[in-house]
């Protein structure tokens, strides 16, 4: 029997609000199934169970803000008998205050440690039924306005409900009846929450991780030409982006120079064989998430591209999974097609390396004894100095360059 708990979905996550159950008592679940949706500072995240079995009962109510470790549900393993008494959650998990990772003044007596009997937060008046896709900002606005998400038809990708849909539904109903729910306190905007989450993770990184940086400018002409040619024969749905080549080359290089790949969870650092490649996705309107493309070392280039497309779509619709938010082993952050030529980034803890890719630039380049105009790109690896030195960072960049020089092998 297992108690399914509020997971930590980021280095500095303290609490999350349960917004959706995807299972009910009696449902069979297997490892990796999405069990619930939790609203965090980084948006709504689907959380998975790591235990197979049958859902015995649900401990937490929709709308509850619960600290990391709080019990959400009880899952019985195969063949296990249901307990006679409702299972009491471990006291310490229930009573534990929300404790920041770093030494700080005692936590304020805010009711974030809501006991199981606490009333739902007023802003979460209308929990959406299971299966709804809605962006984080749309969810929050719907809660503010008292709009029932299940009554709205989404117009976003995959039918996801967007902010505009909520506003439209609200203005439609507002004509017939005046808005009666005025929140007593205005909740912080999703963007302000996201900035807080980024600030916490990056401050922790700069406090704990001694960064070192190694840069290299490389010839992007072979990859540029190969890509243009490859895309000529493809319809738009199957076209590739340069970003997919960068992610694929990173995954191969990280598999080869494995000491840049993994999570630093204690000494000694143990590199991971699987490369779960975090892809930094800028959200429109500001903010950043870096969900991981799982087992990227085993994905062909086309699979890498479709995986990235899926991640970006779900990041914007607010449908990322807990595993994608927590299991990354290295992150790639690219500035895009045009703009600044280089970026030196802050490692996403507990990872040990971050690869920043500047916008490609057309520059004079020496080929043989000639100077030619070529597409170039500058890549910078930030590495945790506790696990390696500049020499290993340079080895990784050399491997990355070699893969980018032979795009047909990616």
């Amino acid at each position: 029997m297992g108690v399914f708990e509020m997971p930590s979905l980021g280095a500095d996550m303290e609490a999350g609000t349960l917004v959706e159950w995807m299972v009910k008592p009696g449902d069979a679940v297997k490892r990796g199934d999405v069990v619930a949706v939790v609203e965090t500072q980084k948006g709504a995240i689907e959380i998975e169970t790591f235990q197979a079995g049958t859902v015995h009962h649900l401990e937490a109510d929709l709308g509850q803000k619960l600290p990391v470790g709080a019990p959400l549900a009880v899952i019985l393993g195969d063949g296990e008998e249901a307990p006679a008494e409702p299972v009491a959650a471990p006291e310490e998990a229930r009573a534990e205050p929300v404790q920041p990772a770093a030494p700080q003044p005692p936590p304020p007596p805010e009711p974030v440690t809501a006991p199981a009997t606490a009333p739902p937060e007023p802003t979460q008046a209308v929990p959406p039924p299971a299966g709804l896709m809605a962006s984080p900002v749309a969810r929050r606005r719907a809660a503010e306005l008292g709009v029932d998400l299940s009554q709205i038809t989404g117009t976003g990708l995959g039918g996801a409900i967007q902010l505009a849909d909520v506003e439209a539904a609200h203005s439609g109903s507002a004509e017939s009846k005046p808005a009666e729910v005025i929140p007593e306190r205005k909740p912080a905007s999703p963007m302000a929450e996201m900035r807080k989450a980024i600030a916490a993770a990056m401050s922790r990184s700069k406090r704990e991780i001694p960064h070192l940086y190694v840069s290299q400018t490389l010839d992007l002409e072979p990859a540029t030409q190969w890509l243009a040619k490859a895309n000529q024969g493809r319809d738009p749905a199957s076209r590739l982006l340069m970003g997919a080549l960068f992610v694929r080359a990173t995954a191969l290089a990280a598999a080869k120079v494995s000491m840049v790949n993994g999570q630093y969870v204690g000494d000694p650092f143990e590199p991971t064989k699987s490369v779960h490649a975090g892809v930094a996705v800028a959200l429109r309107g500001g903010g950043l998430v870096a969900p991981a493309l799982m087992d990227a070392q085993d994905l062909r280039l086309d699979e890498t591209m479709s995986g990235m497309r899926d991640l970006v779509t779900r990041a914007r619709a607010g449908r990322l999974r807990g595993s994608e938010m927590t299991m990354g082993t290295i992150t790639i952050s690219a500035l895009g097609e045009t703009g600044a030529e280089a970026m030196t980034g802050v490692i996403f803890p507990p990872q040990v390396a971050l690869l920043c890719i500047g916008a490609p630039q057309r520059r004079p380049w020496v080929v043989g004894d000639q100077v030619e105009p070529r597409q170039t790109v500058t890549v910078t690896l930030s590495l945790d100095h506790r696990v390696g030195d500049g020499r290993q960072a340079a080895r990784f960049l050399n491997a990355f360059e070699s893969f980018m020089q032979a795009p047909e092998t990616l």
Binding site: T155, N231, P236, A282, R284, V312, T338
Partner: protein
């Protein structure tokens, strides 16, 4: 399809990809990347959506020709006539 109808469909697809964009505030000369801040994945998703809606497969080399609503309407009208789409 009239240019006005093409423009409407273009803006609908654009706002599906970038829901924070209010189609009524987009001007004909707004650049989808420089002004409306679409990234390369957004542009690819827009091209994919236009392929589905109009049956017009816009090659990568023609992306600059759909970079603003005004350019896109002219391009899609012309391509539509060529594939016999009216």
């Amino acid at each position: 399809m009239t240019p006005q109808e093409i423009r409407t469909v273009f803006l609908i697809e654009l706002s599906k990809i970038a829901p924070d964009i209010d189609p009524s505030t987009v001007s004909d000369d707004d650049h989808i990347q420089d002004d409306l801040e679409l990234d390369s994945m957004d542009v690819l998703n827009l091209v994919t959506a236009l392929h589905v809606r109009f049956g017009i497969d816009i090659p990568e080399s023609d992306y600059p020709q759909i970079a603003t609503p005004a350019l896109a309407v002219a391009y899609l009208a012309k391509a539509g006539r060529q594939v016999g789409y009216e």
